[in-house]
């Protein structure tokens, strides 16, 4: 408790701290929201990539699959999102990129740069969860999950 700075503070000061943290909390919600979303998307790419091995595994297709699997974590978020444009409405993909941009601005705030398009937390949640919803319902990925 001592480390929270609330202990020993006057009531008004503590109230101001609580409000300050509440005011910032909404924006910072977007950081973990994005982190969860960003970890979820590659799972579907892995499912799609594993189709390479649904044919008889050979040295070649195993190596190709391994390369994709190993390097996927280095792919840029925008590039990963673009892969889903054939499944998810491109406007929604565009919105997700804006969420990422806003998330980056929150996490690495540069006071010299104007703020990018703001994302209310509820809207960020809606955009990202709707994308996951559409992807999960896609027949190609459903099938792949069933046969994997």
């Amino acid at each position: 408790m001592n480390k929270t700075r609330f202990v020993g503070s006057a009531i008004d000061e503590a109230k101001a701290m609580i409000l300050d943290s509440r005011v910032n909390a909404d924006d910072f919600v977007i950081v973990p929201l994005w982190a969860i979303f960003e970890r979820k998307l590659p799972e579907y790419l892995q499912v799609e990539g594993s189709k390479i091995l649904q044919r008889t595994p050979t040295t070649f297709n195993t190596q190709v699959y391994q390369k994709v699997e190993n390097e996927m974590e280095y792919w840029k978020s925008d590039d990963v999102l673009d892969l889903f444009k054939s499944i998810v409405n491109s406007d929604l993909i565009g919105n997700a990129k804006q969420v990422k941009k806003y998330r980056d601005w929150i996490a690495h705030k540069n006071p010299k740069k104007g703020r990018p398009s703001n994302v209310p937390p509820q809207t960020a949640y809606r955009i990202l969860s709707d994308i996951i919803s559409v992807v999960e319902q896609h027949p190609e990925l459903k099938q792949a999950v069933t046969t994997a």
Partner: protein, 160 residues
């Protein structure tokens, strides 16, 4: 600032001023005082521009709440104002009729079906809305009753 951005900023500033005028009419017969101050907002798409914020104080001059414009370039909306109280905050967003939506196209047999789903329910007109946290997806038009309710929530203040 390009023309499109300038037009958007101008609409936002106007809609903020109209909202504040409404709020002032709601508190006219109460003991709350209101102070409007000009602030500067900097957004990547527009650069810097000026808009008013509205502070509400009780009869002793103690701040009860503040309506702080955040910006006009909002994903899924035309503008955002944060209602910052003494214990909590509420986000108010300016939405067009219907609000933001998502269109999905699914292959059904040999044809494609397109469906448009709104992010939020209850957006029957353009204006300022509060999106509920508890009931996800419910948008509430910013009326006097909602203003009174939110003031209670963010500042534990009963309008009298």
């Amino acid at each position: 600032m390009n023309e499109n951005a300038a037009g958007k900023v101008s609409s936002f500033v106007d809609s903020v001023d109209r909202l504040f005028a409404e709020i002032e009419s709601w508190i006219a017969s109460t003991n709350l005082k209101r102070i409007q101050q000009e602030i500067e907002i900097s957004e990547e798409a527009s650069g810097k521009y000026k808009v008013n914020k509205l502070t509400l104080q009780d009869e002793d001059g103690k701040k009860i709440a503040e309506f702080l414009p955040v910006g006009t370039f909002i994903i899924g909306g035309n503008g955002r104002i944060d209602l910052n109280g003494t214990i909590d905050k509420a986000i108010i967003v300016n939405l067009k009729t219907g609000g933001p939506s998502m269109t999905t196209t699914t292959a059904v047999g040999d044809h494609a079906e397109t469906r448009t789903t709104s992010f939020y329910e209850g957006i029957n007109q353009q204006g300022w809305y509060w999106i509920e946290d508890r009931r996800r997806g419910k948008a509430n038009f910013f009326t006097k009753d909602l203003f009174v309710e939110l003031l209670r929530e963010v500042s534990d203040h009963e309008l009298s």
